[in-house]
Symmetry: C2
Subunit: 343 residues, 2 copies
């Protein structure tokens, strides 16, 4: 018989369908992905093609005139742009706003075939640093109410360019998903005077079954009620509602955790396509006591169909205890010391 599970943070139900149950190894890509070259002449993110992107926001370079290691540029096909002032209108029963905001690309490496799951920790640290730096800049802009950072890896995850990159979109509104997560966290806090994410951290560390990677500052778990096969959640151990306030150690630690987490996914699960999303507090709307920023990773190993889109209930075919064990125990090569050995 199937099992219904409710996520304690969002109260969303999922169905783990035993009739369709699979083993983690069933999801591993059978054919190796086609080889990608280190450099592609027609790639707008490859070195030499800098003129194909809009003017750089900032970059990390060895010397002022030297080659770049990472670039932040506006998205050429930006969904939002910072030109002008906010104009809210209410035609009839509707509400509209002009598309004021920011839409940037973080080009994570000069190498066309690199990815967060394979690059070294030092480079990954620069990606995290660039995210934190751009987050802080955008948080100071007057019309910005939410800064969303995300990464689309692979075609089925919606990326059109292979070259490793993350994206940052700063919106003048607070997204519905943030509102809903924060509202549920507030209810939990009002009931128990506890942060639900702190309770998840404490529980998962004690139970161990869903732990994938445990480092000084972060815990990577397969969540109790995952919507996607191999779904992962990265929780900072320090209670903190916003990504805006990371210490230097937390930046380094996040790089280590991303390296280890995505490295395991890449090597053990055969480099599946995935989306990575940052969940953080809105700006100018404090939820310090009860919200807890985190990262969610959704491998695109299943399709949302009518039931999922209509109800929000996902049917998953693999248990998180199994995917956690599979990733935790996989022998993967990793520069990060405690990633290399099975737990």
């Amino acid at each position: 018989m199937s099992e219904l599970r409710q996520d304690p943070a969002t109260k969303r139900w999922v169905i783990i369908a035993k009739e369709r149950a699979k083993r983690p190894s069933d999801f591993v890509r059978k054919e190796p992905a086609p080889a990608v070259p280190e450099y592609a002449a027609d790639c707008p993110f490859c070195p030499g093609n800098e003129a194909l992107t809009p003017n750089e926001v900032f970059a990390y370079r060895d010397t002022a005139a030297g080659g770049w290691r990472l670039r932040v540029v506006p998205n050429k096909f930006a969904a939002l742009a910072p030109d002008g002032d906010i104009a809210v209108e209410h035609p009839e029963i509707f509400t509209t706003m002009n598309g004021i905001g920011y839409h940037d690309v973080i080009i994570e490496s000069p190498l066309h075939n690199e990815t967060l799951g394979t690059m070294g920790r030092e480079q990954c640290e620069e990606v995290v640093l660039a995210c934190a730096e751009r987050f802080a800049q955008l948080a100071r802009q007057p019309h910005v109410r939410y800064v969303s950072i995300f990464r689309n890896h692979g075609r089925s995850a919606g990326t059109s360019l292979v070259h490793p990159h993350s994206q940052v979109i700063a919106t003048p509104v607070v997204p519905a998903h943030a509102r809903q997560e924060i509202e549920e966290a507030r209810r939990y806090y009002d009931d128990r005077v506890r942060c639900v994410y702190c309770d998840i951290l404490e529980t998962e560390l004690r139970l161990e079954a869903r732990v994938i990677l445990d480092t000084a500052h972060y815990l990577t778990i397969a969540p109790f009620a995952p919507r996607w096969p191999f779904e992962m959640k990265i929780l900072p151990k320090r209670h903190n509602s916003s990504f805006a306030e990371l210490s230097h150690g937390e930046v380094r630690g996040l790089a280590e955790t991303l390296c280890g987490t995505l490295g395991r996914l890449h090597q053990a699960a055969g480099n599946p396509d995935y989306n990575l999303t940052l969940h953080t507090a809105p700006l100018h709307d404090s939820c310090e006591d009860y919200y807890h920023w985190h990262i969610e990773i959704y491998p695109r190993l299943a399709t949302q169909a009518g039931f999922e889109l209509g109800t929000g209930i996902f049917i998953n075919t693999v248990f998180p205890e199994d995917t956690a064990a599979f990733l935790r125990e996989a022998l993967v090569e990793c520069a990060v010391e405690h990633c290399a050995a099975p737990a």
Copy 2:
């Protein structure tokens, strides 16, 4: 510049991205879809293969011994099953429930290559009748709290079998999406003592720009803030919270509207993959005054990526006024009288 639009019923924001703007015709499938035969020997839903499905729930036949026109059967790989009693458990901070429920398939036609967008109105009426009949049966089952009806058309919409079918899943919990929609409708009602869906109906009928099909009992619109290109909403003109209470005329009318709506999508937009989902009131949880059942259709003409999955804000690249005009004015062949001529 892009435009942010908020859906008045759900309060969800979408971005209509002008920098990426497309015309409706850009979404039309360029190559015709591969031809599908009328009969496939290895299809479990084709006549002659009835033994490959679990025992029939009911069927529509010409005579008791004759061939069937429509069959309702349990899903062979059911996500939920009606065996046993509900057992809710609370291990640690989590909540689980055994997978009690129902998961049926409505085999809509004996013809392997038929679809709701091409079948005649009479056959479509039987599909609607079967949905209503099965909905009523499941609504009477003791543990059922929500009946979800949906249709996945095409591989990218998550279907594995081509043969035309819809699915019904009855869950022992109320889905998050239903709760959220109903909560927003309640707020609107508390503010204005009006149903938001009735206000949408009245407004769209008056403005005309987003109307795709207007029949006696239903209105098909491209919603003001669509998440998907060519997204459509079918609203019953009579305020009614639940699909459980359709009159005979409303069943006939829904068939006519589905025929006309999906026929236009099929013919004018080149038979795109889509998901169709019923949105209706939960059982034993009345929301009569402020909720309004309806159908949503999401053509799979874009990919949800990290931004959409993380925030719930969708980036759409085509205006609903344009897709509505494109579908409304398309010259399509249809047996339904007022579908055949442009509006």
